[in-house]
Assembly symmetry: C2
Homo-oligomer: 237 residues x 2
């Protein structure tokens, strides 16, 4: 959550074991230009998150059935409730019919966006169907493999940063994870939403071979080493 | 594992829930100057790791009973086997009498050192009693809360670094974890073993209020931000 707007980034790797990795988009955007833009990102069981997106998507596509649609809810809070409720229903549905260990169907979602008349808002939605909202004190959320990329976010996040700088920070954070963990991989999808624009302006994908990303990754690695070198060494007694 | 020797660092926080945190040393060293130096670090169940250390310690203190002692084994490999066997026995012992879920008694150990006649060696010992050895390809081990501090190790580790520089890297790695996770906290115990010295030379504790550590933590945070700033921003279309 920045002063300028909301920034989202997700990787595209899913896995069901080391020999079963695939590439799937984990970011979905719904919009009605001039009225609302909503972005959903997911981590966890792919069948669950795809079902949630499909249900929400079908609802938003049939105009006559728009009453319970993300394109019709009056506020971001109601949107979060709808997504959370859908998530809980999908998980419960799987858990009741098949395997009892519902934990394997778990998923966690991040929903952010703006609906005309309200400010941009950002939510973290738990598999149990409850959710929390980002605030000044906790201005960003991560889901999935969060730990490797967190230290740089904690240290360098600044609500006043622009989108160009935010892109750099997010790519560096993802790159730190990538270097240490096989479950996260490029390409990276991004959506940078400008407050009060109520339309999609900056949305796209950074490919693994993207020259900016590769220069950044290399440059960051070199700069980190140089930075560490620049700090005073310990003095052994 | 460095060309200069072996470097060890451990934090001192243990917890059994958020309202039950304590400070315990997680590093133990045994030595016979001129013959051997061994260092053991632990992560996991504190009762288990303390029992392992106590058993190994008692054996190494009674000269008449030295046959199965860490101070008598002929090689680092045999030392690793002895520690691993002790760990497995302690875990099995707890699991058989009390709670069946032996996973709660789990612990993972790092053992490193040198015994006269052999090179310095470094082992990671699993709760099942098996172990692996560090090599050129995998020159360092972490146990416990490993993820936050890993990216900087991956990026900045260099086998040719000296002890003064290694201290800096280890403190920065721990500090990244500290900033993100409540289960890791200063003071930090360290032991830097010089190859072929066969004695303890650099062993001590970095307190939370240590001025070098605090300057480093502050300097690293500032430098990280400056480093990120120095890299080119993304250009939005």
């Amino acid at each position: 959550m920045l002063e300028k707007g909301l920034v989202f980034m997700s990787d595209t790797r899913t896995n069901a074991g080391f020999d079963n990795i695939s590439k799937f988009r984990k970011m979905t955007t719904w919009d009605t230009p001039g009225d609302r833009v909503l972005t959903l990102m997911s981590a966890g069981n792919l069948a669950t998150t795809q079902a949630v997106v499909s249900i929400l998507d079908e609802r938003s596509k049939s105009p006559e059935d728009r009453a319970p649609s993300l394109l019709a809810v009056p506020s971001m809070f109601q949107a979060a409730r709808m997504v959370a409720e859908t998530l809980r229903e999908v998980i419960d549905g799987h858990a009741n019919v098949g395997q009892r260990a519902s934990s394997t169907f778990h998923a966690t979602l991040i929903l952010g966006g703006q609906i005309a008349g309200g400010p941009p808002r950002l939510f973290l939605i738990y598999p149990e169907g409850n959710f929390i909202e980002a605030s000044e004190d906790t201005p960003f959320f991560q889901v999935g493999e969060t730990k490797y990329g967190r230290p740089i976010l904690v240290r360098a996040y600044d609500p006043e940063m622009g989108f160009e700088e935010a892109m750099k920070l997010l790519l560096v954070s993802f790159d730190s994870t990538l270097k240490a963990n096989l479950t996260v991989a490029a390409p990276f999808d991004f959506h940078f939403y400008e407050t009060d624009s109520l339309e999609i302006r900056h949305k796209g994908r950074i490919e693994a071979e993207d020259p900016y990303y590769n220069d950044l990754s290399q440059g960051w690695g070199d700069a980190l080493k140089a930075t560490l070198d620049s700090l005073p060494d310990y003095t052994m007694e």
